[in-house]
């Protein structure tokens, strides 16, 4: 594109260079034709006697025309008004900064809203369920944010820790009859331990290799879960995972002998909604604790070391920072929060199987972190909202969800590599913050 700038300044005075523009658009359309004709235009279907083809040349024509038009638009904008694209996107990019002074209020407002959500008139079981799912992804996003956003380690196998948390919680709860609050720290500790075990051999690998290796770990864990029948019950998964209780009060219509039920204790009539609401508050509290922890740790030396490592590992070594231990800490902490989220997932579903822990989940959480802005807490919340709510708006969105996310990841990297909301504030100031730094 750089080479075009010169052409642009001369063309701005003379108008669009029609022959060259047409040639460019035709070339693009031709490529589009080659791309779309077989895959879009033809589709194999079953007919008697073997395979047949379903022809969709209409779609091909639309696709090619769209590419032609889009290319033309780009050429026109470039020559007639150089910098138009920048002029349009720059204000959008400034929107997050506009919120700056109001961020505090928005955040507090958001938290208050989250607390009162289940009691609002429109909040039926469906709404609370969705909100619970959002919060799970928010927590996963915050956990991965430590690894990817702060420490800059691209972990493509985060789902492994999610799975370890879920399965260890389930196994502990089923086999040892421990309560949610007893299992939770154990599951988290176990996930953190796995983080150390998996991280230790590979954290000195450079970025790309680390990404693929962590992906491999994620797959290995899933394959083991799928095939280790004795412990994990293989593809059948673990069911009848005990649900959490409210300080010993069960959320069932008819409790066991000697046990009290939640609705009886508070004099309410039984509603299955109670447990759903309780689970919602549970994940909300877990998520808020995660957030508080992350915010606190960002002011500590370990977090600055993560960020410094992300910037320049060689300089860090020259300052006496142990890169391996520092990275391991990030990895283990991220794994721990993934484990907590997994534990909650297990207890909420009551049933887990290896199907829930595929690479797609890792990719989803990564997409949340990347789109929301690596290192940004609020960004993760917004991205998780979009991710979970989008498919709810219609069948079409559900199908296109991952397609859009893939495309969005590519575009974000090109346009705003640090994510939509990432704007780093120093974690420590010498002068009062009123003196705005450039």
């Amino acid at each position: 594109m750089a080479g075009r700038v010169l052409g642009a300044t001369t063309a701005a005075t003379t108008g669009i260079d029609w022959p060259a523009a047409l040639k460019e658009c035709l070339a693009a359309a031709l490529v589009a034709l080659v791309l779309f004709l077989p895959l879009v235009g033809m589709r194999t279907v079953r007919v008697e006697g073997g395979a047949g083809l379903d022809f969709r040349f209409g779609w091909v024509a639309i696709g090619v025309a769209a590419v032609f038009a889009g290319r033309f638009l780009l050429v026109a904008l470039r020559t007639v008004r150089p910098g138009t694209v920048g002029a349009v996107t720059a204000p959008i990019a400034r929107i997050p900064a506009l919120f700056g002074p109001y961020t505090q209020f928005l955040v507090i407002g958001g938290v208050v809203f989250a607390f009162v959500l289940p009691f609002l008139p429109f909040a039926n079981r469906y709404v609370v369920d969705i909100a619970t799912t959002v919060l799970i992804y928010v927590m996963l996003g915050w956990g991965l944010n430590i690894v990817v956003g702060l420490a800059g380690l691209l972990d493509l196998g985060y789902v492994a820790f999610y799975a370890v948390g879920a399965y260890s919680y389930a196994l502990l709860a089923i086999n040892f009859d421990l309560s949610f609050w007893e299992c939770l720290p154990l599951a988290g500790a176990f996930a953190a331990f796995m983080g150390v075990v998996l991280g230790f051999p590979v954290l000195r690998l450079r970025g790309d290799y680390l990404a693929i290796v962590t992906l491999g770990f994620g797959e290995i864990i899933r394959i083991i879960l799928l095939n280790w029948y004795d412990v994990t019950n293989g593809p059948n998964g673990l069911s009848a995972i005990p649900r959490p209780s409210f300080f010993g009060l069960e959320f069932t219509r008819s409790p066991d002998e000697g046990e009290a039920a939640f609705h009886e204790f508070f004099g309410l009539s039984y509603s299955s909604l109670h447990r759903v609401q309780f689970l919602y508050f549970l994940i909300l509290i877990l998520a808020l604790v995660t957030n508080a922890f992350v915010l606190r740790i960002r002011k500590l030396p370990i977090s600055r070391a993560w960020e410094a490592l992300r910037e320049d590992e060689i300089a860090c070594r020259a300052l006496g920072i142990n890169p391996t231990n520092t990275k391991l800490t990030a990895f283990a902490l991220g794994a721990m929060f993934g484990g907590f989220a997994g534990s909650f997932f297990a207890t909420r579903q009551g049933f887990i199987s290896p199907e829930s822990f595929t690479f797609i989940e890792s990719a989803l959480v990564l997409a949340i972190v990347v789109l929301g802005g690596m290192g940004s807490q609020v960004g993760v919340v917004l991205a998780a909202l979009v991710l979970v709510l989008l498919p709810e708006f219609g069948r079409e969105f559900a199908q296109f969800r991952m397609l859009l996310f893939g495309a969005a990841m590519v575009m974000i990297m090109i346009w705003r590599p640090r994510g939509l909301l990432a704007h780093r504030e120093p974690t420590i100031h010498l002068h009062p913050v009123a003196a705005a730094p450039p």
């Binding site: 194999t44 083809l53 590979v202 590599p417």
Partner: protein, 304 residues
């Protein structure tokens, strides 16, 4: 003994396919230092194109196998190369100066996009192809285990050898190959010496995609059934092969592919088939920890 021979033949066939995909990874990494995470999906697209092409030829009545195979090869290679070219142009070229994780995240996004693109267009179900080439050589002791070397397997191996020969010639003795080797050594300097860096990089992607397309066609013929998810697993394994052989080295990629194919075949044959993928991933991890430059690669010295 015969069982061993069968596993060996299966392993070589599998390895040839991995090797062809691995070459694409190696070439791209050698020239611009990034892992083309979407390369596995390019292989998958090649496989889909070959199925569509075979079906189309069947409808058009062109059923003479050698001709059909040739047409499918050419068409699928051409079209897949177009996809490879487009991916580079859209997702990687704009990020050439960006921070080091950016192209990788973009590649992951592209991989997700392509998987879902094919899934939406061609359906999420597996796609079968009625067998095109059947039969093969069978030999073995009477009454005992027989070793089957199918025609498909022979074609795969011969085609791979032919492609490797052509490729080595291309890289070693043509101006394009020279330009590519120059870019691999020092991108900036090659540009200053008059090499069209953009075009060389594009052609690298195109060549890698073409080889992946051949692997895709082979997979279609060999397995008879494909789905939109085969790119993921094959991609990671082929990357393992490239690393095993020494990333950046083309003979290394093929060597790594053959070794990996054989490990996988023997593991499935003698130990357990469920954990064969674990074996492949474990090789990746072990190689990266203990022998990061691979078998035929050169160790990288850190420039401070």
């Amino acid at each position: 003994m015969l069982y061993f021979l069968q596993q060996l033949i299966n392993g070589l066939t599998l390895g040839a396919m991995y090797g062809l995909i691995a070459i694409g990874y190696s070439m791209v990494y050698g020239i611009i230092g990034m892992i083309n995470f979407a390369h596995g999906e390019i292989y998958m697209i090649g496989a889909f194109l070959s199925i569509i092409c075979f079906t189309l030829l069947g409808i058009l009545g062109i059923t003479w196998v050698p001709l059909a195979l040739l047409i499918v090869l050419l068409v699928a290679m051409a079209c897949t190369s177009a996809y490879g070219w487009t991916v580079e142009r859209l997702a990687y070229r704009p990020l050439r100066g960006s921070f080091r994780l950016a192209p990788l995240i973009s590649a992951i996004g592209m991989s997700i996009f392509l998987q879902n693109y094919v899934q939406l267009l061609q359906g999420a179900n597996v796609k079968p192809l009625p067998p095109v080439i059947i039969g093969g050589f069978v030999f073995g002791a009477g009454g005992g285990f027989t070793v089957t070397v199918s025609y498909v397997q022979i074609i795969i191996l011969l085609l791979t050898v032919a492609l490797m020969v052509a490729f080595s010639y291309l890289i070693g003795h043509t101006p394009l190959g020279r330009a590519q080797r120059a870019c691999q050594q020092d991108l900036t300097m090659a540009g200053l010496c008059g090499v069209n860096v953009d075009r060389t990089i594009s052609l690298t992607f195109v060549m890698g995609a073409a080889l992946a397309a051949v692997a895709g066609i082979m997979a279609t013929l060999y397995y008879g059934v494909i789905d939109f998810f085969i790119g993921f697993l094959a991609g990671v394994k082929a990357f393992t092969a490239a690393v095993l052989g020494g990333i950046g080295s083309i003979p290394g990629a093929m060597l790594g592919g053959l070794l990996l194919g054989m490990v996988e075949a023997f593991w499935s044959g003698y130990f357990s088939i469920e954990y064969k993928d674990v074996a492949a991933f474990s090789i990746l991890i072990l190689v990266l920890i203990f022998l990061p430059s691979g078998l035929l690669g050169r160790p990288e010295v850190e420039k401070v």
